[in-house]
Amino acid sequence: MNNVGELLLIALGLSTPLIFAMLGGFASERGGVINIGLEGMMLSGACMSALVGVAHGPGWGLVAGIVAATSLSLLHWLATQVYRVDQVISGMAINATAAGATNFLNQKFATGASSTVFPELPYQLLALGSVIAVAVVASRTRYGLQLVAVGADPTKARLVGLNPVRIRLLAAIATGLFTGLAGNYLVAETGVFTDNMTAGRGYIALAALILAGWRPVPGLVTALVFGFLSALSIKLQGQAVAGVVLPGEFWTSVPYLLTVLAMAGFVARSRTPAGLGKF
């Protein structure tokens, strides 16, 4: 029993950044903006949280992480909405910029000291609460409905007097907030930044979002399941399951494989926002 409880705690810890990043992806993609830049935004959030956290304490670290991620999110908004850059290309460019910039900044400014950090439990509660909040905002408020409308069909939304570009701006800020929190949480686990420390979590969060049909509460479930899978892969290292030893890499791959199957229509019904990628 104790083992099970421990496993679930590890799973919740591993899920938390996924939940935050998934919510960031939700805000963006529900409004019709494809966002593969979640990874880069998280990475920048983690880097700035660590660097500023060492110098000025975890509070300012948190603020800096959120500001960094939000800047990149706003850059994505600017590129895709004002410059009308292809959304996939912009997302990639943001990932590259973040990977490069964080490597640069970390090498220049990291002192080797680790930041004091906040405890993890409040983050985990905040993540769970945020899911509810986002779900309520998206389905019960004027702004949320406008965002969903813009994501479903930007042309029709324009016809009823909505301004998709402006509505997506607020969503972009929310994306920055959540991805910044996700990155900050990674630092809260270790206190230091290492190159590419997000290690594909942004993509897993995207996978969680897609598998959940772009809905926040099911997204929470998929993120928790993915976190549980990683916890299992840590716990089961080298142990046999039903007589077979499955390598850790197998468990790492499960979320990605499930997403491919979902895209093929085998796992979940596709609920892609109809206006995804449309201007």
Binding site: I89, T97, G100, N106, V260, A264
Partner: protein, 331 residues
Amino acid sequence: MKWRLAALILGCVIVLAVAVSVAGKSPIEALTTLVKGSLGTPRARAGTLQEMTPLLFASIGVFVALRAGLFNIGIEGQFLVGAMTATYAGLKGPGGPMGIGLAILAGSLAGAIWALPPAVIKAYRNGHEVITTIMLNNVASAFTAWVVAGPGKAPDAGSPTSANLPASLNLGNIQLAGVPVSYGLLGGFLLVAVVGWWLSRRVTGYEFRVTGANPRAARAAGINVPQQYLRAMIFSGAIGGLGGAIQVLAYEHRFYDSFSPGYGFDSLGVALLAGSQAWILLPAAGLFAVLAKGGTALDIFGVPKGITIMVLGMVILVVAAIRYRREDSVE
């Protein structure tokens, strides 16, 4: 719109200048270091050409898919499985030219197979190829990492790596102006020419381009659009796999964990720079190779290498703002 573009480019230049000064070096000095470190000596030039080879192959793969309107982000994964499969095919197969042929064939085939699920899902299930290829990239890196750490690990190796290929499987090189140029790179030049010719002069290439320009018009003209998607993706994946095989045969002679430092991702930028002209892949891949090779010199000079990756990201953004703007709706 003109001033907006100017603002974007200016913004990027300012960010970079600030970044270099933050590193405590003068921008001019940093630039000369970059150029000297990549083109200054025969040795540096050889290194740049080596960097250029995988970028060129991978970007040809991306380019082909892009011409048919598909964004093959999965080139990284296809490159990885291609390189891995070519290595083991080379180890098991005969030596000499036969072995080289076998390894190249195996690598290309593996790349094509890795591209098959996204191809089918795009063609017949209307699932976005970007998502599926991203996911399969991650699977590819996990899968190849597992193979070289487990069943494919060289018995006496301390780190996850395959055994070394026999010397008879080395592609070899010719000397041009004192710089060794691998036959692999020359093969890449040839492939660019063939792909460019095929896209502009053959009916099947034309069908590709029509599909990419406007799938609805293509369907109206009697082109089987799903089939084009299928072909484009598989073809693209095969080229990615071929690139992996060439990388092994020409330079690395083995496969190891984290084999690609992101050639697949950089090649997306190369292909975007090339736009619709195949031959531009050559200077574009060259430019990226200069940045990659020169970045190492910068690193030693005291400006962290990350700055070149940052430059690449910004180049991609600016080029995309100029060339890949969406015009499908009125404001």
